[in-house]
Subunit: 138 residues, 2 copies
DNA sequence: AATAAAGATGCGAATCCCTCGCAAGTAGTG
DNA sequence: CACTACTTGCGAGGGATTCGCATCTTTATT
């Protein structure tokens, strides 16, 4: 249960940077590498952006972290265990809303049944306009 | 019906570059700015990449073209009228498969009803693993 | 047709985001 | 405590996109 184990059990070395990157992703919910770096710098000012990128990649390789492309360009990282919702990305305000994964269940099933396509919910980003930005007058 | 009108009617000037960019997007189905530029160069070798970017943006502003983020990083552009399908992006081979938009109809409806979220099908990219890359042994 | 004003284009520089290479530092092992 | 492999920091490198600006075109007007 100690954090050390989850890293070492997966064959990773325990470095302060690595642990901080993972902790940051978990705290932030979803964040860009830049945001993760900023978070980590609160307790470890010297961390290098390259290190953040490399650790995110490493953590993703062992399944502790996942990334999604939410549109703008950069990737967004999530802790693997927090992926219990869909991401509703608003193209107007850029906000990322959540919706329960079950909302997509039948959709996912029909894609699998009809097209043999296995939808990866972790990479599932939905674009549109959120309720706040949707103006009936337009 | 003439192409001139669809551009001028939307307040845009008619330039050879603009028309060629639009034509290229229509011919290509979906393409990156780079690919559009390459296509345009077949008949207008001197076109500048900046011009392609600017025109894609302009055409998008007036609704003739749309873009999606298919994951890798760069945006992919589509002619607005050709958006009659969903994009199933395979994370393994990178292929972009199609599925009829109706497959998502009930999903879109429930997001609207339950969350007030208006899903923009044009920006709708679905990540997962295509039938060809899906190996039951994994 | 000639002309003026608004817009577009080309070009090069500048950014942004991310990746690399390398030397120095550090965790894990016996 | 020493050794080896993996990590980190740092700076350079690279690809994609954006910007600034001078020049040229399209359009609306004479």
């Amino acid at each position: 249960m100690a954090e050390q184990h989850e890293l070492r059990d997966r064959g990773l070395r325990l470095t302060p940077q690595r642990e901080l990157v993972l902790a940051a992703v978990r705290e932030l919910g979803h964040a860009t590498p830049e945001e993760v770096a900023e978070k980590v710098r609160q307790s470890h000012p010297g961390i290098n952006l390259s290190t953040v990128y490399r650790n995110l990649e490493t953590l993703e390789n062992v399944g502790l972290v996942l990334h999604t492309h939410l549109g703008h360009g950069g990737a967004t990282y999530h802790a693997a265990e927090e992926l219990t919702h869909l991401h509703l990305v608003c193209g107007v305000c850029g906000s990322v809303g959540d919706a329960p994964i079950e909302a997509a269940a039948s959709f996912v099933t029909s894609l699998a049944d009809d097209f043999g396509f296995r939808t990866d919910v972790s990479h599932f980003a939905i674009y549109g306009t959120c309720a706040d930005c949707f103006d009936p007058n337009l």
